[in-house]
Symmetry: C2
Subunit: 429 residues, 2 copies
């Protein structure tokens, strides 16, 4: 592999000229591509079109006789909790199935904790001088946005290949009682695709925390979203916390947003009986219950976990080639130059691209000017600030395979150009 | 009319014996009836069974081309906002259509105000020494429960026949900057059935308030829920507030919970552009958007306001006889004795029964022992405390007409017995 810094000035100039030519050629195609949106493609949504006519005439009764058309049932239907409990690793009685957004349940946990305190809080969080959360980075912008909204301070923790840097996490939570939580996407993490190792899960469950009311926000958004033939499994955090004597530490979330319909799926939450009761009591002040007809609808489409896995196989067939196409374009364009690293995730929705330091914003700018919209640089960091300006999130699921191939080429050329520009500027400085 | 206090001791004893005999005869039937639940009957839900197969194969696209299966569209579909905007009296751009619970939108307004302050707040409400809401009583227990949950002090204000006692409301809000809001069910109020007069609406819109960030929580839950041939209209609060120079004062809510399916309908919110933008910005941190497929589903069933009114005519045919049956039973059992007053609402879901002072809890107890479950006495007051122990809420929609007739008879006999017992106790004291 060749570092740009190893090139002679002449070689660098030559590479700049070549890359600029390629960039202009790409730009002059006048394409309009979008690799910013972590959302399913229409063909993926088509896999669940049965839902449009379900549950069907005469079907409005749950297994226990509940008329799902009427009020009530704040915890969700038992059979929906049984199905989705398998995804979050909890029995139905410790599982809540709600409306279309697991993010909303995470948000509401934080809001209720701010205004009421959680079951282990001495006071509502909003009465404390400061509240802080650990944020493994790069991470999911919507997690960070909730913290930003409510003035919760965010502390960056590096994501490693098997989860957050646990030495750092343990040291921080042991000392600082204002640290009330950590955001985790434990499987096929957004955006790096990392899978938390058993050791990381174990250490999370066991670590002493200065805050008695510390909680792990475990957003298992990609629990069944495999990109290879392997259905990767991770350790069960709820069980690990129970074994470690911290039974109320884990708050586990998932949804069918990227299983059935992204806008019209089911959100799910699981935890200890104590946390579930606390949450349902709070949520019961907010609404009388979730849309149980949508739960019936999903159960008609997905009667058991095998049906759900088969559906996910269909998603994989549609999107795995898009991830492959990005990898191939990156490998081809970067060639022998060591200008970027990127992930090859075994599941999830994103590829994480690390440019040379100080090149991410310029890469996104160049890509945009060439017709490829990307997630804004920095979006994967709290407050949108990537301290090294390196990370770019690539979301290949929504565009067609042809578009993904084109866009990946454009992104790679933009990255290479940004890196060369920066090396030139470094030498001129 | 005869007051119990006008009876001789002997007459009173005779009435007690007669009433006890009737009560025991009723009790010995061993009925199990429930007049506590303000929810639609199965036959009402049947009117919307089309929804179970809608929007139907191939129908997932909104008028503007939006794929409703995917993420996004936080304000709701334009066509859904146009339809439900007619109910809340606002143009589509000032209307938000969300998920199945308007109560959730009211709750979230309060939560966001507590944690962030509303657009007119100098600080988040949770930073103020106290926050108070005016509560016209009797009123809706779930409104009061939200305040109780978050430590918002509630000040009772008497409901009159045309709305809250505005002299009292005006005096309170003019003086006390900690009063941030008032709960209103302006049409066919829960539980009294009162309809706010134009004058009350006008005074609400115009009144000076010590709090710059004062808001009217206008829960127009029964906007189209008529029990007579007359479609009662009330003045438009949003417009009145605009005219009065208080354009951001009105927060208007409604839902299709008692139009289509109570558990699977659409909630709606309307206000000024400023308030709508503020709300959407907040709600956008919580979730990526509402279930747009359910909005399409509703639009397929209810393509315009006329279809909606026709559906409501169907509800009226089913439930108006139940309200009549309660009135007839009450009138018959109370006969010439002045022991109770009750409302004859022109719409909505409830009859409000006022017993003699100190008799409501005993009435509910006697009814329960005779097989008729009612809303707990006091439930229509903040913290469940009716200072005069007089008000009982009667919810006749859910049981069958036969059951309503039986239950109303039981409630009336229980009320009469409680009143007679109390008069006897008074004389013995």
């Amino acid at each position: 592999m060749t570092e740009l810094s190893d090139l002679s000035d002449e070689q660098l100039r030559g590479l700049h000229e070549d890359t600029l030519t390629r960039y202009r050629a790409f730009r002059d195609q006048g394409l309009k591509l979008n690799m910013a949106r972590g959302k399913p493609a229409p063909e993926q949504l088509d896999l669940s079109n049965d839902l449009l006519g379900l549950p069907g005439a005469g079907h409005y009764t749950a297994a226990d006789g509940t008329d799902c058309r009427n009020y009530g049932g704040g915890q969700g239907l038992p059979e929906a909790r049984a199905l989705l409990g398998e995804i979050v690793g909890a029995p139905p009685e410790n599982t809540v199935v709600a409306d279309n957004a697991s993010l909303a349940m995470m948000h509401d946990h934080i809001v209720y904790s701010l205004l009421k305190g959680n079951p282990d809080s001495a006071a509502p969080w909003c009465r404390e001088p400061r509240v802080r959360f650990l944020c493994p980075v790069p991470g999911y912008d919507r997690h960070f946005a909730i913290c930003a909204e409510y003035g919760i301070e965010m502390i960056n923790v590096p994501m490693l290949e098997d989860g957050p840097d646990m030495d750092r996490v343990e040291a921080l939570v042991a000392e600082d009682p204002s640290i009330k939580g950590i955001w985790c996407v434990p499987k096929y993490a957004n955006p790096t695709g990392a899978v938390y190792s058993d050791e990381v899960v174990e250490r999370m469950a066991r670590m002493p925390t200065a805050a008695a009311d510390f909680r792990i926000f475990w957003d298992n958004a990609y629990a069944v979203h495999h990109l290879t033939g392997e259905r990767v499994e991770i350790a069960n955090l709820i069980e690990a916390c129970g074994t470690a004597g911290n039974p109320d530490r884990a708050l586990v979330f998932a949804s069918t947003s990227k299983i059935t319909f992204a806008g019209a799926g089911l959100g799910v939450f699981a935890s200890s009986a104590r946390n579930v009761e606390w949450y349902l009591t709070r949520a019961g002040k907010r609404a009388i219950g979730p849309d149980k007809i949508n739960q019936l609808r999903h159960l008609a489409k997905l009667p058991d976990i095998h049906a759900l896995h088969r559906l996910m196989d269909g998603h994989r067939e549609l999107i795995a080639p898009k991830f492959d196409a990005v990898h191939e374009a990156f490998a081809r364009v970067f060639g022998d130059y060591r200008v970027a690293t990127w992930t090859r995730p075994r599941g999830g929705y994103f590829i994480s691209l690390d440019t040379p330091q100080g090149c991410a914003a310029r890469t996104v700018e160049l890509a945009r000017e060439a017709g490829v919209v990307m997630t804004p640089a920095g979006a994967t960091y709290p407050h949108g600030r990537d301290p090294e300006d390196r990370n770019v999130r690539v979301a290949p699921t929504f565009p067609s395979l042809t578009e993904v191939k084109q866009a990946a080429e454009g992104i790679a050329v933009a990255t290479l150009l940004a890196a060369v520009e920066r090396e030139i500027a470094r030498r001129e400085a």
